[in-house]
Amino acid sequence: MVIPAPRVQVPASAAKGEVFQVKALIPHSMETGLRYDEQGAIIPRKIINKFTCRYGDAVIFGADIHESVSANPYIEFYVRATDSGSLEFIWEEDGGGVFRLEHTLTVS
């Protein structure tokens, strides 16, 4: 199985109080559980069901994702720069898979 390689686009630095954009994408087929294979058996659901962004110690954005989100789920959201520190992006998959990325942000 190919391990999905998520990617994010985040600025390296921001002014204190500034709101910056984050673009997050993970390659994933988002199998809905509604499709059948050639033998007529249902293809089990396997989707990214949750995305979380932590900034320092706090969760500052989250998304509960259901079957109607497109394959290769893409989320663009907006964060206020408070302190220099790490941003952690976490994708959770059906069956317990967890994929993470970390980014260091400098706030001046």
Binding site: F61, H66, V69, S70, I75, Y78
Partner: protein, 158 residues
């Protein structure tokens, strides 16, 4: 009771049961042929049944989607809610529903006052032309609702 009437009665109670079941589960599943926005159930009624609260239509919720889009597999969606995002006044969560999809709940986004803005973009699947609904849950418990009509020409849920 005629055959037609009894079938209607069964369908009607089955629908109520399914909607109640849907409201209780995290994955909102309405089987094919039983649709939450059958003419009898409008968006306000649907959201009321799903959440237990009556939403109010509001222009503070802005749901931007293309009116016409060829590909139902990946329809752009942009959602923004007017809010100061202070401790006293903020959006807790925004939910998106596609009532004519086989699974109507699309996504829910959580925002934190002073840390994230109530604004998000993503891409969603749509099975057929329909009104997509966005509901903002405010910190005082109120629900604000808005909708966007999208005409897709291919079924993104197959």
């Amino acid at each position: 009771m005629s055959m037609v009437e009894s079938t209607r009665a069964i369908l009607s109670s089955r629908r109520k049961l399914l909607i109640t079941a849907a409201a209780c589960s995290t994955a909102v599943l309405l089987p094919r042929g039983v649709r939450a926005n059958d003419d009898a159930i409008g968006p306000v009624e649907l959201i009321t049944r799903l959440t237990g609260k009556t939403p109010a239509w509001s222009d503070r919720v802005r749901l931007d989607m293309p009116r016409v889009f060829p590909n139902g597999y990946s329809v752009p969606l942009a959602l923004a809610i007017d809010s100061a995002m202070t401790e006293a006044e903020h959006v807790r969560r925004a939910r998106v529903f596609a009532p004519r999809n086989p699974l109507i709940e699309v996504a829910a986004f959580q925002f934190i006052p002073q840390r994230s803005e109530p604004r998000v973009s993503t891409r969603i699947r749509l099975a057929e032309p329909q009104y997509v609904l966005a509901v903002a849950e405010m910190n005082d418990g109120s629900l604000l609702l808005n909708k966007a009509w999208v005409e897709v020409s291919s079924n993104g849920c197959k």
